[in-house]
Each structure stands twice: as C-alpha cells, then as structure tokens.
C-alpha cells in the first residue's frame, strides 16, 4: 500500500444502521465505484475523529478517511 493522502470528493450515505458508507469517489479525474467496504475503524486526531474505510472497486484496495471536524475526505493509501 502506497501513501497518497490527497483530498477527494466522495459520494456517501449517512444511514440509520450503517452510520456512514462511501459509495463512489473521484481521484484526479477518475471516478471509482466502491463495490465493497471491507473494513472500517476509527481513530482520533486531536479532537477530530477520523473514520477510516478500507474499500475496493473490485480490482484495487483503497483506504479512505473522513475527518469529522473538517468534514474532509482523503484518499489515504492505495495498492494501485
């Protein structure tokens, strides 16, 4: 997995059961459809909570992070 750490646009759902689930994101000018959220975990950065998601588009694994304070999504790492 290579570190990327770039801001990205994400289409996500705030649900009642699964609190937050990303569905699609744009990195550079490519759109990636998320097929599967394989794992999620939370940690903190100061008083912000970062919600991490390991996701796959069927071919590549990405790690996305949502900062609950700045409301910014980042592509943290990928094995692409």
């Amino acid at each position: 997995m290579e570190p990327i750490n770039e801001k990205i646009s994400v289409l996500a759902l705030f649900g009642d059961k699964e609190k937050l689930r990303p569905y699609r994101f744009k990195w550079g000018n490519r759109i990636f459809n998320i097929k599967d959220v394989t794992y999620s975990w939370v940690d903190t950065l100061g008083s912000a909570k970062i919600y991490h998601f390991a996701v796959t588009d069927g071919a590549t694994v990405f790690e996305l992070g949502f900062n609950s304070l700045s409301m910014v999504w980042r592509l943290e790492r990928t094995d692409a």
């Binding site: 394989t38 975990w41 100061g46 991490h52 694994v61 094995d79």
Partner: protein, 404 residues
C-alpha cells in the same frame, strides 16, 4: 455453584484483519510486521502457519522457508479499534468482562447465561456477531475456570467452539500434552518431558514434593494445572490502577543514548499525561528494556515525592538507564509510574511549581484539541511518529490503554 467462563480469542488476529481489509490477501500466506524497518512477524495467517511460519519469526527466515509469503505492514489503530468494538459486543452478554489481551477476553456468564439460552448459545452468538461485524473468525472456549476455557478455545482453533464440562475435564486432560496448557511454555514443557511427564494426566498425578524439588514454588501450581484447577475470577478494570505504564517496540533497534533519551521522554510524557488525566501521582518509576536478543529486564527507583511531572519521571528513568550501561542494541523501551495515590489538589506553596503545573496543564489542553504531541518538549522533536508494535497490555479503555 460452579462458574461459567468463556474465553473468546480471535484467530490469527492481525493477519485476519489484514486479509479482511484486502481481499487479494485472503486464502494466501501472509505475515504481518510492525513497520517497514521491523523484521519480526507479529502475526501469521493460517495459510502461512500451515507452511511453517510462526509468530516471532524473522522475516528473512520466513522468506527462506516460504518464498511466496506476503509481508504486510500492520496498522495498530485497526486492531485497537476492533478490540474496543469487540468489548462492546461482549458487554451485551455480561458486565463481567476481562479484556485479557488485544485479541482475547474472558467473560463470566455465570449469572447471565440463562437469559441467552445457555453458554453454548452465547458462544455461537458471539462467533456469529464477530464474523458479521468484522469478517473474522474467533474461537470460543467455555468451562468452569479460565485455564480450561483457554484450553477449550486453543484446542478447537481455528473457528472453534468447545465446552469442557467438569465431568469431561479429566478425560480431556488425560492425554493432553502439558505445553498445551496456558502458562506452561515450551521451556517448562521440555523440562517435564525430560522427566518423562508428557501429558496433563501424568502431571496431575505427580507428587507435590517431587514437583517442588524440581520447579520450586510453582511445583504445586503445576500439579493443580495438570488436574485442570484454575482461577475463575474475571478481573474488571479496577477503579484505582496500581500503575500507569507505556512501552513501545522501536521501529529499529537503537543503542545511541540520544535516541534512547528521546524515546524515554516520549514515554515519560505519555505516562505523566495519563497520570494528570486521572489525577494520579506516583512515587516509583520503572524502566523496562528489551535487548535485540529479547533479553528483557526491569529496574525501578523510588523518588522522594509523588508526581505526575514529565521531567521528574524522565530524569528518574534516564538515571536508571545510565546506571545500567546498555550491553546490546535496544528493541523495546517502557516507562511505568507506580506507588500511585490520588491528587488531593493541594496548592503548592512554592510558586515555581504552580507555574510549571499551569504550563503542563495548558500543553495538555492544546494536545487534547490538536492531537498528541502537537506541543511537546524540544528534545523530542527528532523522533518522528511511527508505528510501534502493540503491547499485550493494551486495553480498550481506562488507565491501561496505551496510545500506539
């Protein structure tokens, strides 16, 4: 009434989490390592175990044994988060939960099992929920004490569920190799073997005098273990901890005193900060050192005051290390504050102390807001954050929680 104790133990925990995260790793031999500079495998997948890979093995050794092994750099945050989430699942079945390590927990379900259709039903439910939530397998052992619950889980791995009843215990133990028992390592197991004792059944029938003459005070305990006698007290986090400690496996082995000082400062700050958070002052500072060869030892020193001041803890710890005179590169360092008492909040009559207190408190609040080590002591600046290896003492909450 006999107790009913469950042990839940994740199968190949770190490796399973990594395989769950990355589908291309599933079904393949993987080894998890702490950082790209570390060489020790901290967890191996079942596929890797089948090829002879063991936890603690060096990565070069592993590559030689199994060239197709995939080495994955672990992420402790994933594991600690999962451990905290697991504790929430356990709490639905009983308030008496002892998170024993990052991937093992004891549950005392004596008084609650009837609410859930019995112990086996709880075991099956736990496995199902863990699989559904995290996609990983757990092995569950159930018995009337912790020793046998652990054994039941160990012998049913992977993906196991096993109950050892009081009536079954003697027949399960009769032919069980002694080193399968929790607490009998390969060391004692081999010494027993040399005396011709290979099974728990045999061990349980040995005379106490004989065992004591060979093993000293643990001789008696060994006999009891052979008979399957063990503790059933599930220890919850107590209100007042006996000590506050942090340890870390370093990204690479170090011998340079400057490097050691910087790490000791970081650890002292983490310990002191936790003391301040919980209003606990300590009067004994201990340092644990693990050499490259895994030789590990602890030295401690009593200070003449109760404190949670980073600098006093740091100075004491460094004083201890200077006396030791390191013989080998250091792999792991730890700092512990013990002899704790609660801070009564008394104002110091010396103004200097109050100023320092105020400075420390404002540093703490800045770090609360912006993240650990946003503001820190200048001498710490050279050490960059890194992924350490998780201490087995990690807990999801309370004083023993360590930032990793």
């Amino acid at each position: 009434m006999p107790k009913t104790i469950i042990l839940v133990d994740m199968d190949a925990f770190f490796a399973s989490v990594e395989q769950q995260c990355n589908p291309s790793l599933r079904g393949r031999p993987i080894g998890v390592i702490g950082s790209d500079k570390r060489t020790v495998i901290t967890a191996a997948s079942y596929e890797a175990k089948a090829l002879g890979i063991k936890t603690g093995m060096n990565k070069f050794e592993a590559k030689r044994l199994c060239p197709e092994i995939i080495l994955v750099i672990g992420n402790n945050r994933k594991y600690t988060h999962t451990c905290s989430e697991l504790a929430k699942i356990y709490a639905r079945y009983t308030p008496d939960v002892e998170v024993y390590s990052i991937d093992e927990a004891f549950l005392d379900i004596t008084d609650t099992q009837h609410l859930f259709g019995g112990a086996m039903e709880i075991g099956a439910q736990l496995k199902k929920e863990i699989k559904k939530t995290f996609g990983i397998n757990a092995s569950v052992g159930i018995s009337h004490n912790k020793l046998l619950a652990k054994l039941a889980s160990d012998i049913s791995k992977p993906d196991g569920l096993r109950y050892i009843s009081m009536e079954d215990a003697p027949s399960v133990l009769e032919d069980m190799p002694t080193d399968k028992l929790w607490g009998i390592g390969r060391g004692i197991g081999n010494r027993l073997k040399l005396m011709g004792i290979t099974t728990c059944g045999q061990l349980g029938r040995m005379s106490e005098t004989f065992l004591r003459s060979h093993f000293g005070i643990i001789g008696e305990r060994l006999k009891e273990m052979g008979q399957g006698i063990g503790s059933f007290s599930v220890l919850k986090e107590t209100a007042i901890a006996k000590s506050i400690g942090h340890s870390m496996t370093l990204p690479k082995d170090i011998i340079n005193m400057r490097d050691i000082e910087a790490h000791i400062l970081k650890l002292s700050e983490m310990v002191a900060r936790r003391g301040r958070l919980y209003n606990l002052l300590g009067e004994v500072v201990s340092v644990v050192i693990r050499y490259k060869s895994f030789k590990t030892f602890t030295r401690q020193k009593k200070i003449n005051t109760h404190t949670y001041d980073t600098h006093i803890i740091y100075d004491t710890a460094i004083g201890i290390i200077k006396v030791i005179r390191l013989a080998e590169p250091v792999r792991l360092l730890g700092v512990t504050l013990s002899g704790l008492r609660e801070d009564s909040g008394q104002m110091s009559i010396f103004n200097e102390c109050n100023k320092k207190d105020a400075l420390i408190k404002s540093m703490d609040s800045i770090n609360d807001k912006y993240g650990e080590f946003t503001v820190s002591w200048a001498s710490y600046l050279d050490i960059r954050r890194h992924l350490g290896v998780i201490s087995p003492a990690w807990r999801p909450s309370g004083l023993r929680r360590t930032d990793v």
